[in-house]
Amino acid sequence: MMALTCLLNFQGLAKLRELKQPFPHIVIEQVLSAPFVRALAKAILGEPKKRWNTDLYQFWQTNDLAQSNHTKIKGFVRQFTSIETKNCIKKILGCQVLGPVDCSGFVFEDTDYLLPHDDQMPGRKVAYILYLSTSKKKNGGALDLFGSTPSGKPTKVKKSITPRAGTLVLFPVSRRSIHQVAEHVGNNPRITVGGWFNE
């Protein structure tokens, strides 16, 4: 597994794109090797999951991955939640994230979705999504980023990020960070690891 910290040292910089619109976010491609991505995706699919079905979302979610007994997951969590990763995030985004890291696996099946929201909750500083599967545009499941008015009211989708295995998306949580996961269509599940770095 390629550590997040390594990216800053060499070719990672070329793959790292910091973008400001519609709100600050980072997209890092190929943050994990393809074999590791496949292994992690398989591990996530094998984890016990809870089905959520509310007004705002519909998907499967694992327990906190820090509690998993799976070797691949344990190794990933250890590295992803390390102080080195947190220092790296501080360098990239300027956010101090020394607190705990929420880390769950998410599986979206046909018609699953996550409607617009800003992630704001006490303690949450940086949101992240690590894609473990690749979707075609016709399958939906894109991470849609909304524009917003100065007072924080969402307007419309300004950017869509189609899932691509091995890509990591990060963004500071604010009243402007309004986003959704568009409806997933099709039989191949959309698999991610996601959560928040806390202050």
């Binding site: 007004d55 409607l115 409806e183």
Partner: protein, 242 residues
């Protein structure tokens, strides 16, 4: 039938006559005609399925309403005459709509312009009449205040969300449904719940009248309408509670 209900129903009738007896004797037909009314299309017989004028039907509907748990409700199917239902449905499908799009609150279509609402004039008149109000009261035993006439539509990718900023006041939800045949797994159902549990799901049902009292603490949302509905639409006219 309790005395309370009878008294309640009687006090609602201002100028209308409703003939009924304690226990609604079998075979009784209700006469909702307004004395002196000369406006076409404002008599209940002009609109609703004649079966709903029979005491047995109303008695059955009220029994369903009274016994449904954990949230009282009734959905009267084939409510309008088929002819009238088809006419209203065609109006709804052809109407000019405007999208209400506040992504973190709700996304749906509504008709508010005078031009869009013009075809519904006679239906609106009946819905807001004392006859309709009396009829709803007979079905439920409640004093239902009908003051809205709000045609709305939901199609693919539309929804409403629970939102702390828009707490619904307690009331009674009453709506006429003219939806296309929406698949059960297509979303779009109304979900009623409290903070701790889900109480009721109401799926779109073509040509029906639905009545659901919503007491304090009961919230409501419209489930996201997913791609399985295709181009079909959920079309409803809310006359109370929207």
């Amino acid at each position: 039938m309790s005395d309370d209900f009878l008294n309640q129903a009687r006090t609602l009738n201002q100028g209308d006559t409703v003939r009924h007896q304690e226990g609604i004797r079998k075979g009784t037909r209700f006469n909702f005609s307004s004395k002196g009314s000369s406006v076409a299309g404002t008599n209940v017989e002009d609109w609703i399925n004649p079966a709903y004028l029979r005491a047995s039907t109303i008695r059955g509907a009220r029994a369903v309403f009274a016994s449904s748990r954990p949230l009282s409700h009734v959905q009267a199917r084939n409510f309008l005459s088929e002819e009238k239902a088809d006419i209203v449905r065609s109006w709804l499908n052809c109407a000019d709509v405007e999208e209400v799009n506040i992504p973190n609150l709700h996304v749906y279509e509504r008709m508010t312009s005078r031009k869009a609402l013009a075809p519904f004039r006679s239906l609106k008149k009946w819905c807001l009449s004392n006859q309709c109000r009396t009829f709803l009261s007979l079905l439920t035993g409640l004093n239902v205040k009908v003051s809205d006439f709000f045609p709305i539509r939901f199609s693919h990718r539309q929804y409403t969300l629970l939102n702390d900023a828009t707490n619904l006041k307690p009331g009674v939800d009453v709506f006429l449904d003219f939806s296309d045949d929406i698949p059960r797994n297509g979303g779009g159902e109304l979900v009623y719940l409290t903070k701790t549990r889900e109480l009721l799901k109401v799926f779109p049902c073509r040509n029906s009248l639905t009545i659901i009292p919503r007491p304090f603490g009961v919230m409501r949302y419209r489930k996201y309408v997913n791609y399985r509905v295709g181009r079909k639409k959920i079309s409803q006219i809310w006359i109370s509670g929207w």
